[in-house]
Homo-oligomer: 336 residues x 2
C-alpha cells in the first residue's frame, strides 16, 4: 500500500516549512499570517497530492480526537439503531465521528468497551447504561470525563442524562386501555432493576389502582435472557389457565417484549383487539401490517439523539460538567 502523504511532503514539494503548511491547511492563514500567493500554492499542491490530514497525529497533539463513543444495548434493535442513526447524523455536523458499540446488556462488556473507547481517546461518551454498570460509569464521572447517559439512569449518580418521562408515558398508555373499557389489564415488563423500567411499572400500577382495577396476578416479569420462555409461560398462565379470569388488555413495557408476546398470541390464536387489547412501548414495522394495529408509545428518538449530542459537545467544549437530567415526553401513536 502506498504511503499516505503528509504535511512534510507538501512542505518539501513547495520548499517551505511544515509550520506554514499546517497554518494554511487549517485556514489560519487569514489575519495576514501567510502571504496570499504562498497559501494558494500550498493549497494547490495539497490538493494535487491528494493530501488527507492524519487525525491520529492531530488528535495526539491536540489532546482530542473529534470522536464520540456511543454505547447501546443492541444495535440490531430498531430503537437503538434509530437512536444511533440520528446521533451520528447530528454529531457529524459538528465534525465528530461516532464509534458505535453494543453491550448486549452485559455489565462486563460495558466495562471492557469503556476501556477500548477511552483507549481510542474518544472525546466523550453517550451511554445507554446496563443494569449494574454504575460503578464503572461512576469512576468516569469522578474524573469529569465528558459523558451523557441516555434512555436509562441511575438515581443516585449525579451526571448528565437524556431520558423520557417513563412514568407519564406509561400512565397514558394504560389510561388508553382503560378508556377502551378494559377491566383486566396485564403488564409485561423486564425484571431489569433500573428506574426507567420501574417508572413504567409504577405508571401502570398507579393508573390501574386509581381505576380500581389492580390485580397483582396480572403483573408479569420477563427476564431479558429467557425472554421467549418467560413470555410463553406468562401468556399461558393468563390465557390458558382455567383458574384464571382472562385479561382484556395488555401493556407491553418494551417493544421486544411486545413483539415476542404478539407472536406467541398469534400462534396460539389469541386475537389482539378482539380478544384482548394491547399497547406497547416504541413503534415497530410489524404494527402497520397487523389485522388491527397495536397502538404504541412513541419516544421522540431524533430529539433524544440530538439532545444527547448537544449536551455532550457542550461538556467537551466547555471542559466542565454541569450534571443535569433532561426529560422529554413521549406520546401515543393514536394522538398523531
Amino acid at each position: 500500500m502506498k504511503k499516505r502523504i503528509s504535511i512534510k511532503t507538501i512542505a518539501q514539494e513547495v520548499g517551505i516549512s511544515n509550520a506554514t503548511v499546517s497554518l494554511v491547511l487549517n485556514d489560519k492563514d487569514k489575519e495576514g499570517r501567510v502571504s496570499r500567493e504562498m497559501a494558494e500554492k500550498i493549497r494547490k499542491v495539497a490538493k494535487d497530492l491528494n493530501y488527507e490530514p492524519n487525525h491520529l497525529a492531530r488528535g495526539l497533539r491536540m489532546g482530542k480526537s473529534q470522536t464520540i463513543g456511543l454505547i447501546v444495548a443492541d444495535i440490531s434493535n430498531p430503537f437503538f439503531a434509530n437512536l444511533a442513526f440520528h446521533i451520528q447524523e447530528y454529531a457529524e455536523k459538528f465534525g465528530y465521528s461516532v464509534i458505535i458499540t453494543n453491550t448486549n446488556e452485559s455489565d462486563a462488556k460495558l466495562v471492557k468497551i469503556l476501556d477500548v473507547l477511552i483507549g481510542h481517546q474518544v472525546d466523550g461518551l453517550i451511554i445507554v447504561p446496563t443494569e449494574h454498570g454504575k460503578p464503572a460509569i461512576e469512576e468516569l464521572v469522578k474524573k469529569d470525563f465528558p459523558l451523557v447517559l441516555l434512555d436509562r439512569w441511575y438515581p443516585e449518580l449525579q451526571t448528565c442524562y437524556v431520558v423520557i418521562d417513563n412514568y407519564q408515558a406509561s400512565k397514558t398508555a394504560v389510561q388508553h386501555l382503560i378508556n377502551k373499557k378494559c377491566k383486566r389489564i396485564a403488564l409485561f415488563g423486564y425484571t431489569i432493576d433500573l428506574p426507567h423500567m420501574q417508572e413504567r411499572k409504577r405508571g401502570y400500577v398507579d393508573t390501574v389502582k386509581k381505576a380500581g382495577l389492580f390485580d397483582e396476578n396480572l403483573i408479569k416479569d420477563i427476564n431479558y435472557i429467557s425472554i421467549d420462555a418467560d413470555i410463553k409461560t406468562a401468556l399461558d398462565d393468563l390465557f390458558f389457565n382455567e383458574k384464571n379470569e382472562k385479561p382484556d388488555g395488555i401493556f407491553f413495557a418494551t417493544n421486544s417484549i411486545a413483539l415476542h408476546g404478539l407472536r406467541y398470541m398469534f400462534e396460539r390464536g389469541v386475537k389482539v383487539s378482539k380478544d384482548v387489547k394491547a399497547i406497547c412501548f416504541d413503534k415497530s414495522d410489524a404494527f402497520d401490517l397487523m389485522e388491527s394495529p397495536v397502538p404504541c408509545v412513541l419516544q421522540p428518538i431524533p430529539e433524544m439523539g440530538k439532545l444527547a449530542v448537544d449536551v455532550l459537545i457542550n461538556q467537551i467544549v466547555k471542559g466542565t460538567v454541569i450534571p443535569s437530567k433532561v426529560e422529554l415526553f413521549a406520546k401515543l401513536s393514536t394522538e398523531e
Copy 2:
C-alpha cells in the same frame, strides 16, 4: 478533566525508562528481556494508576489504528443493522474497533465519509457501495488500500467482494410463487443501477419467462427517493386500474419495498395470501404478525459479516490484496 496517565508516569513512579515499561505492558518481557520482579512491579503500578494505553499515539507510531471503517446505506434498516452488529462482534475478537457510518445511498456522502474514515487512519474498510460510488472506491483500490465491498458490487472493478447469489435467490423466490399456482407475478424492484438489483430482476424475468408467464406490465420500478409515492402509483395501477388484469403474486426485491407495499395494500384492503401471494427479500419482524406470514429470502447475515471481516483482516495483515468475489447462498424462509 484529569489528565490521562501515560507510560512516562509509570516509568517515573517505578524509576525506570519508558522503553522497559512499554515492553512489559505489551507482554514483550518474555524471552528474558526484562527481569521478573521488575515486570511484576511495573504491571502493579500500571494497574494501580489505572493506566490505559493511548491508541492514538500507538497508532501513529505503528502506522495502524486497529480500527475498521464500516459504511452502510442506512443503519436504521434492520438488514444493515444486523450486518453491523455481527461485523462489530466479530471484528472485536481480533482487537479491531469498528466505526459505523451511513451514506443514505448518496454518492457525495460516500466520498465525504471515505475522507473522514481515512483521515481517522482506519486500517481497512467494509463498504456497502452506492450507485455511482465506483470512481471514489476505484481510487482506493489503485492504492491497494485494504477494503471489501459488501452486498453489492461493481462488475468492472477488480477488488474484494462478499455478496450473495442474487440471481439464484430471486429465481427460487419467484419459483415459490409459481409453485403456489400464481400466473401473474409482479416484480417490485429499485431503479438502482447496480448488479445485485439487476440480478434479482434477471432472476425474476428468466423464471417467469421459462414458465410462460412473462408480462412487461407487471414489472414496477421504484425510486429509493420517492419510494412511498412510487409504490402507491404502481399498486394502484396493478390493482385499481380497470384496464388491467390483476396480479396474483408479487415479488418484492427488497424488504423496504415490501414493507411499504404491504402497508399500502393493507390500507387499500388488498388481502395478501387471499387476493395475492407475496414473497420478498429479507425478513422483517412484521411478517410474524401478519394474518398470513409472507415468506422471504433469508440472506446469511452473520456469515456475510464474518466473511467480510475475515477477508479484510487478511488483507491488512498480509499487506497484499488478492481480488476475489465470495458468493454466499440465500434460502427461503419456508425451507427452514
